[in-house]
Symmetry: C2
Subunit: 201 residues, 2 copies
DNA sequence: CGACTTATGTTGTTTAAGCTACATAAGTCG
DNA sequence: CGACTTATGTAGCTTAAACAACATAAGTCG
């Protein structure tokens, strides 16, 4: 029912969604996601509760959209345009994932919502996955023998898994250092999937 | 046509007016009021130009409402409630006028809009006048023999005249020092007007 | 001068937000 | 248990914002 965020023209819709997303982020600075009700969100956003359901099926969908929006904004600010394989863009996406995870842990109170951290994880993976799928669909050359959806799902989970592992590593080196390692791990997946030979080892 | 700002309940209306006023204040930090078009304002506020005219007849009306809003906000933050004569409240209003004039000169580019400064003046006087008139109308005791409108108009211009004189005085002493002087000047007007004897010298 | 641009208002239609009311479910407490 | 509260989700009606289109006026420039 709700149209994708990026293709909305009507300023009223943009404003409403932006207010709802900002309200959620604001509330998450003091409360855990599970402690936040739809009513809290619409109240903080000065949006009618019924209007909320015109845009999102529930607060989980809002979380998804909010994280996707933040991640896309970060990519946009860094002029990242993924076209399917370009290692430079892949590097940038991995780095952005590191930075986004760091930022989201700094700006939201993650201590008290351990049970809901997987929701955040899933939302971030979703955002990465959509960027990858979009980039692969827009390629000019031959389509991969595996669906872009399958490939992007695999790669996005792989990237996020690696990023999260890095984030919780006690030594926690700078993101710039770990990005090449992660790239080395995931690039083979992309290259393999996009190659023309389906059944080779 | 447009309902008074303070008695509006509909959140959409509040949001629209707030956006327009914020946009005007924002633009006035870089441009003179005369250089700002309605289109500029609605653009910055992400409000449709036609919608602007549902709320204000022109940009002058918006300026008026914006300044009135700012002045009322300042009074509200300081818990000032004028009830007609109370010297304490009158003092607070004069001080607020000093501070508001100072603030508005700091936050807007007044250098390049000399020709339009009277518009700002009139808007501030308007704001003061309405506060005074409101306070006098809500008095419990006998109404003055002169209309509250006449009295508040006189006193508001008097106060603002004095405040502006103070503001442009080269020595420019702290506002706190000049407030008692101004109060001494204008209190007699109030007392005179509210007294029961119409035709005494 | 006349073509062009830009700003200002106005009108009518479409669309989204606000709001009330209702239905349901989950939890709380006496 | 049953009354109470709170959160969630839905439906229909009302109202305001968005928008396109038009008309007018005031420059500007060749």
């Amino acid at each position: 029912m709700p149209i994708s965020d990026c293709e909305v023209r009507d300023p009223r819709v943009r404003r409403t969604r932006q207010l709802l997303q900002a309200a959620l982020l604001d509330l998450m600075q003091t409360k855990g996601f599970d402690e936040i009700s739809v009513h809290d969100i619409t109240d903080a956003a000065t949006i009618n509760r019924a209007t909320f359901y015109d845009h999102y099926t529930d607060k989980f969908a809002l979380l998804d959209a909010t994280i996707a929006g933040g991640f896309h904004l970060m990519l946009h600010e860094r002029n990242v345009h993924f076209d399917g394989t370009c290692p430079t863009a892949a590097r940038a996406i991995i780095l952005a994932a590191c930075d986004y995870l760091t930022q989201s842990h700094n700006s939201s109170d993650c201590n008290r919502q351990h049970a809901f951290e997987p929701l955040i994880d899933a939302a971030i993976v979703n955002a990465i996955r959509r960027v990858l799928a979009e980039g692969m669909k827009n390629r000019g050359d031959a389509p991969p023998f595996l669906s872009p959806e399958m490939v992007s799902a695999t790669v996005s989970w792989a990237i996020y898994g690696a990023v999260k592992q890095w984030f919780y590593t006690p030594s926690h080196p700078p993101a710039e250092e770990v990005v090449p390692d992660i790239l080395q791990l995931v690039m083979p997946i992309l290259q393999k999937a996009l190659s023309a030979e389906p059944h080779l080892a």
